[in-house]
Amino acid sequence: MISIPSTEKRWARRLGNALATPFTPEDYLALFNPLHSARETRARVRQVVRETDRAVTLQLQPNRLWRGHRAGQHVLLGVEINGVRRQRCFSLSSAPSDPYPCVSIKANGQGGVSDHLVRHARAGDLLVLGEASGDFVLPGPAPERLLLVSAGSGLTPVHSIAKELLASNQELNLVWFHFERRYQDLMLASSLRDLSADPRLDLRVVLSGEPPRAGDLQGRLDEHWLTEQQVDAEERTLLTCGPAGFLDTVIGWHQRHGRAPLLHERFQAAPVSAGHGGRVVFARSGGEMRTDGSVSLLEAAEQAGLKPQHGCRMGICHTCKCQVKRGRVRDLNSGESRELNNEAIRICIHAAEGDVEMDL
């Protein structure tokens, strides 16, 4: 969907940039509409749909930098909480053919982005979007016979995929089991009802916490459940998304029985080890080393023969700021220990606390 700008547009752009240097014309246009930015995809919340008492769907109006998404992909969503921009990844619950991208968010009680958005998001709010990414997408052309298995928030990318498939006029035979505790926890319920009207989809909600309505099921997933419920489960291409333990069960079943491809989406990466000192991996230069808790990441890098940019070596000048891809670090000044995920820190005053992967 990349449009080639005309020559006039390109010249207007160059003139605009030259007049606004060292900023961009968008920095000035943002005076009138904060959605403008040349730096990042921003989105206004068009509508907040209250899904359950603990979940919302946000319908978004992105600025022109938004490049769309494929069904099943996720996006990094940034929101300002108490002045600070916090980010978290969410699967898009809308189909790419929907007029506006949507995310459906369940509060998790951790006081982070999810809780904040569920409690405070209002129409008109400004959010920041990353680029849509993720490999939980169907290769085209989609196989005809699919088995979809989701639980809890794992519903969202699967919903996007199912909706996109059913929007086409392709021959399909979809069987979808979605696991939830009670009906009142179910997100996107009205959309699910609409999708179920399509004879190509057989959707069963599986409840663990209350009796099911006609057509739905009761129970919990275990290693035999899929085989018992669906005669041709082994033959179907399997798409699954849900909490870690749930996924492990599905993947385990597929390893033993599955004869068709498997696609899965994990929401949380496996936890990294924590402790005093640790293993520092230099992602770009390829080296790694063990350090004890008192050695700063800067010193560690230098001992490994690297020459990172640095200045004062005491945390004031910020010359040494460097991206930590993931891992836990300890602030040598305050003693505070923090889990990082693609965040830039001053490496002269932070030490590894567990495995740390640095962009060096």
């Binding site: 003139l15 030259a18 007049l19 240097t21 060292p22 900023f23 920095d27 000035y28 943002a30 005076l31 930015s37 730096r39 990042e40 940034g78 300002e80 108490n82 002045g83 600070v84 921009r85 916090r86 980010q87 200045g311 004062c312 005491m314 004031i316 000048c317 910020h318 010359t319 700021k321 305050s334 830039a344």
Partner: protein
């Protein structure tokens, strides 16, 4: 104090009648550090609102100022346009650019206010400035021979600097520097004198010069070519307005920055003095090497809160809107340890800067003069 106590807790600081032992210096440092930790932990929505309001105001002044200059043929519009554009440039360079590049706002997580990507509206490239200013000047503040901001390689601002006949003219070229301050700041980083002495390679010099020229071309094209051309027949008024705004910004930033470290009581240090310096000693040097300016809230904002130079040097990455809140506490701590907290109105402080510039234009040291 007997010799025994002297060995356990020696006097490590002695200046102008104040003597501090090692443990006193460390206690002083711990109090300053505690102050910093307290404020840094409290950063939040209020600070974010503040900097966003300043950015909005600055961008608004910029658009309004440039707009009015297109009508510059009418004298009131020219005056208002020039004033607004000057205001925009001053706010951008001082309260936004300088402070953003100090990483005061990195914690917001906003890429538009991040020290690693921000560039400011003047001829000095951000990358070089962050090295010479954040690292060299802020780490080695007022250490003669280390901090090139002591005289910027062209002026004699400390008794410790060797006299040279060229300094006889510094009372004159001081004013040239004031008028061309942004150019001075840009060229400062080239460290020409180090290249001549062979301490810096010509290839590094050429790389930096290329960067500077690239930025200079863009800045000059914007203010002196494109905006005047866009105004068509009114080009002369736009050009004059842009020139004036840059000049006003230059004079203002010169004034504020020279009052930061060159007032009469601002102290200088030698390289020997900072060998094995502790965090406490570093705080001490920042306090004694800096001087504050007193004034109202607008004055503080227009100075980029460098009117709180002492607080800025103690806490270079603390959001600038917090300096006025910590200033009374810093002053109280300083006075309790018998340390000078150098603060005064702009007129008085700048008067002592001029005195220093004139006195040091002549050979000799203050001590020599006193005894003469």
């Amino acid at each position: 104090m007997n010799a025994n106590a002297e060995m356990i807790d020696p006097v490590i600081f002695e200046r102008k009648g104040t003597r501090l032992t090692r443990s006193q210096v460390e206690a002083f440092g711990a109090e300053i550090q505690a102050l910093r930790d307290q404020v840094m932990a409290d950063r939040g929505a209020r600070d974010a609102r503040y900097i966003r309001r300043v950015v909005r105001a600055q961008k608004g002044f910029e658009v309004a100022g440039r707009g009015l200059l297109f009508l510059g043929v009418l004298p009131p519009a020219w005056l208002a346009g020039t004033a607004l554009l000057s205001l925009s440039k001053i706010l951008e360079n001082m309260e936004i650019g300088h402070n953003v590049m100090h990483a005061q706002w990195d914690w917001l997580g906003d890429p538009a206010l991040d020290s690693s990507t921000y560039d400011w509206d003047n001829t000095c490239p951000a990358e070089q400035w962050k090295h010479s200013h954040n690292y060299m000047h802020h780490t080695y503040t007022n250490v003669v021979g280390k901090d090139r901001d002591v005289g910027y390689g062209i002026m004699r601002m400390s008794d410790e600097q060797r006299w040279n006949p060229i300094y006889l003219f510094q009372p004159v070229y001081n004013w040239v520097l004031a008028g061309l301050f942004q150019w001075g700041v840009a060229l400062h980083d080239l460290e020409v004198e180090k290249v001549l002495k062979g301490e810096k390679s010509w290839s590094e010099y050429r790389r930096q010069r290329r960067l500077i020229m690239k930025k200079v071309r863009k800045q000059v094209a914007k203010d002196y070519l494109l905006f005047p051309l866009l105004a068509g027949p009114f080009a002369p008024w736009v050009l004059a307005g842009n020139l004036s705004a840059n000049l006003i910004r230059n004079l203002w930033s010169y004034l504020i920055i020279f009052c930061g470290h060159f007032t009469e009581d601002a102290q200088m240090f030698t390289e020997q003095e900072i060998e094995n310096e502790s965090r406490g000693q570093w705080y001490l040097r920042q306090l004694l090497g800096s001087s504050n300016l007193e004034g109202g809230p607008i004055f503080h904002i227009l100075s980029g809160n460098l009117s709180h130079q002492i607080e800025h040097h103690l806490f270079p990455d603390m959001p600038s809107n917090r300096y006025k809140e910590v200033a009374p506490k810093v002053r109280e701590i300083a006075e309790r340890y018998g340390l000078n907290y150098n603060s005064g109105r702009l007129g008085r402080q700048f008067g002592t800067v001029l005195k220093r510039i004139h006195r040091l234009a002549l050979p000799g040291r203050k001590a020599d003069l006193a005894s003469a």
